[in-house]
Symmetry: C2
Subunit: 201 residues, 2 copies
């Protein structure tokens, strides 16, 4: 690395701070950016600067937005009595791709992960509680991932919500569409069994 | 993706133009850059701009450099009668890590890859020929990778060099250090056998 010019080394260093990009990948990316004769580099740099300066978090739901309210919170056609709580902005994209949910969202930007030193204050939880205390919320769907940390976070929030008299729910767990029974793990199968639904013919 | 603000979508688009980064990874990287509260984003953008504006190719060997001549070509301690030809700047780092080579380099910035539509003009070959015709070169080491394209490129260049009366050589092929014989492929083993050296005891 010492043999590269300083500005190249600096670019490699900054790129390798990105998640899942080590020094080797960063070197390859830096060389690729330079070989594109300035076009990709200039566009990428300006896209980063523009995104960093223009994007903030929606002051209600904390989704990414370029104005005070995001596209969901400023949409009068959305049902404001129903809130879906997710970990990351990307999770909302999955919900919107499905296209059946008409409520509002709340992005935690984190999970309760004591093993990684992340307590409840590392997520937008206080803001969620203030929101449900202010509004007329009928149900909060706790749509964190079905992992240990996602489950723990959901249970923790559900308890705080029930103390405030708010109904909360969790997404159903079971066999994914296209999933083969043979390869299902025991926890998934157990939850699919206990959550089975009657076939009305 | 449509649900994200435009400047976020643009950042994802630019990031996904990088090699081996798809839309999903690009979205994760963009979110990571934004969550670092401006610091990483600002530094990364400025590192890209600085590298793009300051780095050019050495006018002799085409290694990355911030001035007309790179650190190797401007080092009087290097043996200018010996040139090692490589595909990419990163290959030079491997040579320098070894630390035994004291000659100069020549970076092709490409290989002869007809299947990918890259002819001899896609690499810095004309410049290599001009260089050996001008200087007093004793040997050119063709250190392209040991792949089909790397071998073809080396053979092609060797022919052009021999027409000009220049001796060229190729790195030895054989079992890598630590490599187990059991897992060696037949081509490697065949080359290791034909290139065997006598043990003088």
């Amino acid at each position: 690395m010492q043999a590269f010019p300083p500005s190249f080394q600096r670019l490699v260093h900054e790129l390798s701070r990105l998640p899942s990009i080590g020094e080797k990948s960063a070197t390859r990316l830096a060389y690729f950016i330079l070989r594109q004769e300035g076009d990709l580099g200039a566009k990428l740099a300006s896209a980063i600067q523009q995104a960093c300066s223009q994007i903030r978090l929606c002051e209600t739901c904390f989704f990414l937005s370029e104005s005070e309210k995001c596209r969901f919170c400023s949409d009068p056609g959305r049902d404001e009595h129903l809130i879906c709580v997710v970990e990351k902005p990307m999770d909302i994209i999955a919900f919107e791709r499905m296209g059946e949910f008409r409520g509002l969202y709340h992005v935690l930007h984190g999970l309760w992960a004591p093993l990684r030193g992340q307590g409840p204050e590392s997520m937008k939880l206080r803001e969620l509680l203030e929101r449900v205390e202010k509004g007329e919320i009928e149900e909060v769907i706790l749509a964190t991932s079905s992992t240990v940390e996602g489950d723990a976070t959901a249970l923790y929030i559900a308890k705080l919500l029930s103390e405030r008299g708010i109904v909360s729910s969790r997404l159903a767990q079971g066999i994914p569409k296209g999933g083969e029974l043979e390869y299902s793990d025991e926890v998934t199968l157990s939850r699919a069994l206990s959550g089975r639904s009657r076939i009305d013919s």
